[in-house]
Symmetry: C2
Subunit: 437 residues, 2 copies
Amino acid sequence: MLKVVKFGGTSLADAGQFRKVADIVKSDGTRRYVVASAPGKRNPHDEKVTDLLLQCYRLAKDKKNIDDIFERICARYRDIIAGLGLNLSLEEEFASIKTAVLHRAGRQYVASRGEYLNSRILAAYLGFAFIDAEDCVFFDEADRFIPEKTNRELKKLLEMHEFAVIPGFYGINADGSIRTFSRGGSDITGSIVAAAAGADIYENWTDVSGMLMADPRIVKDPKPIPEITYRELRELSYMGASVLHEEAIFPVRKAGIPINIRNTNAPGDPGTMIVSKATTNVVDTVITGVAGKKGITAIHVEKDMMNSEVGFGRKVLEVLENRNVPFEHLPSGIDTMSVLVTSAAIEECKGAITAEMVKTVNPDSITLVENLALIAVVGRGMVNTEGTAARVFTALARENVNIRMIDQGSSEINIIVAVEEKNYEKTINTIYSEFVK
Amino acid sequence: MLKVVKFGGTSLADAGQFRKVADIVKSDGTRRYVVASAPGKRNPHDEKVTDLLLQCYRLAKDKKNIDDIFERICARYRDIIAGLGLNLSLEEEFASIKTAVLHRAGRQYVASRGEYLNSRILAAYLGFAFIDAEDCVFFDEADRFIPEKTNRELKKLLEMHEFAVIPGFYGINADGSIRTFSRGGSDITGSIVAAAAGADIYENWTDVSGMLMADPRIVKDPKPIPEITYRELRELSYMGASVLHEEAIFPVRKAGIPINIRNTNAPGDPGTMIVSKATTNVVDTVITGVAGKKGITAIHVEKDMMNSEVGFGRKVLEVLENRNVPFEHLPSGIDTMSVLVTSAAIEECKGAITAEMVKTVNPDSITLVENLALIAVVGRGMVNTEGTAARVFTALARENVNIRMIDQGSSEINIIVAVEEKNYEKTINTIYSEFVK
């Protein structure tokens, strides 16, 4: 058994959090490789070290004084080191970083230093080796991540150390510059390390006890999801559920390594297991989760005898494709077709798209219905449970929510509805309450 | 007020039926133009005159004797004439038609004579003028119907006669040959005459008291539909509801003339009014009708990250379009898309389509799910009634019908579901019973 564990910013925000992390790592000897983030917020009004570093970068660029802010950064680390009673000095590192910031160091280099310094401290505290990400995470000349070379070199370095800490978020490109992942940050590094180490499990420790069945800003105290498949996760995250970024999941998904989302502040909680194939399809709530997004527009096209016109649908999609607008759904009647797109995607070209459709398919009418929201009810449990659709629609009818579109059938694990934006929160709450008692 | 009335084959099958037709026409002085079909079946084991004529045509082509069958045709007409006590002889016509059949007359000419002769008798019995369709219904050199010329010439002829009978089903082409409508027959002629006459209503008299809410072969004694919009009609008829052919509706729909489907055998029944705009949207059954068709295949395409690939949907449709396969529905998930097509449309090219999709969009998997049926629940009343979807799905769940696809949203007047073929009849009965008490 080998576990790769990644800790997020709040899990490593101060000495107290470092102690929790050390307890977690030390309590299980198979937790051999640790990926660390930069110190996050200690309280809602606090600042993240990475944000402070970026402030320094901007000030330096404008030739302004960075002393005060840089001092706050150093203080964060000094506090952690002192709080842990460590015999470690990073003063030389601080000085060298400050010099770099003042002498036109790249933005991504500056941004990456939060992880670098935090990982140095964590390695010292755990008594683990420190493996710098710039020695094993590679980007090419166009700053695209190189998975093969990274995997090969990382594997070599990991084999040299039974226990190690690796900073997340960054790597190095072909000309020797530090490069950061544009999205997903340390989660990606954790996933890459897990794949290279051939881990049995990738633990992603954060400040929540796993993924929640619904957005806690909409539903009060939603339940955590014990187990979710990659496919369910993707359906929910596409719909806006806050979760690991796609790119962060890809390396472990490809390697067949399950992800366990855990809570550093409640290490006894089992968290959420993200798996390729669920251990059980019997989900007592039937649904795994519900998520959605606002800002959807339906382009409603009507044309008599449309259905006998082979190529009609393709032509409508081509107009969108020419403007690089992806479509979300495409419900069709006999003489009508609707294309649901994000309002943002057509914001700039609404008029042009309408005009081009008129020209291309000569419809009887085109109507834009704006301010719609999409809501996805997702769950592998739906495959084996008849009547889920009936429960969803009965609950929504009871609450007088007018359903503007229903799409079910391509994936057996979801039902997608469109409602007016003003009914968005009500729809999510109604569906959640229907399935979760 | 001016009504154009068309009578179908069973309405003009014998002298008794002719009397009913005459009563109907004479009871309302505004029923000025009558379009007549050929004599239909008098009982389930009877033969239609048109079928007998086509038998003669085939025999003559094979140089076989037509005497017996041709005599049966003449007998039908002689019986009607005698039964009505008419002072009319068609013997010269019979002889001339027989000669033509034996001397390589065209198949369409032969097929058209049933309407011609029946209309001659009806005109005489009603005391109306006889206007031959070959003088006013025109086809071009490619045998396509010419609406403009027909409308102009027909108008002239109608203006010359206050009351007239016009045979349905045929007209004449550019080189003087009789041509018949390939589908829709006398219904089309009725519709064309109604448009040319500027009728206030087009009455289509048949042997049922209007359109039924469901197929009577599936649902026991379904209720007739009092009023249906053209749009609802098209949704239902596309799904296989037996009704006027598309081309038969077009001329009156274009002219804004409502169609009234009536029953010659129950002239007191109001029948079904087919209208552009319903006089009321309050339908006590909520739904207007339910119809469906078997023989549907779902082509299920899965591909990781499909959704971020602009053009994916268009490429899938293009593969179908290149093989001239229209799609029925296109439900889509995040990484999945299904294209529902008729099984017949892909029968010959299943393998090729799959191979081309693999080549074009490189999916993770393509699965064909065969033996599905589509069922459309149609009704303008659904727009103003929340919870219709809930009722449909609750009823189906109660009957353990597994829904394979739901498409609602483009047209507000329908909900379309896909189920396995074996559940087709059960689905239609369940939905009908849910809404019709």
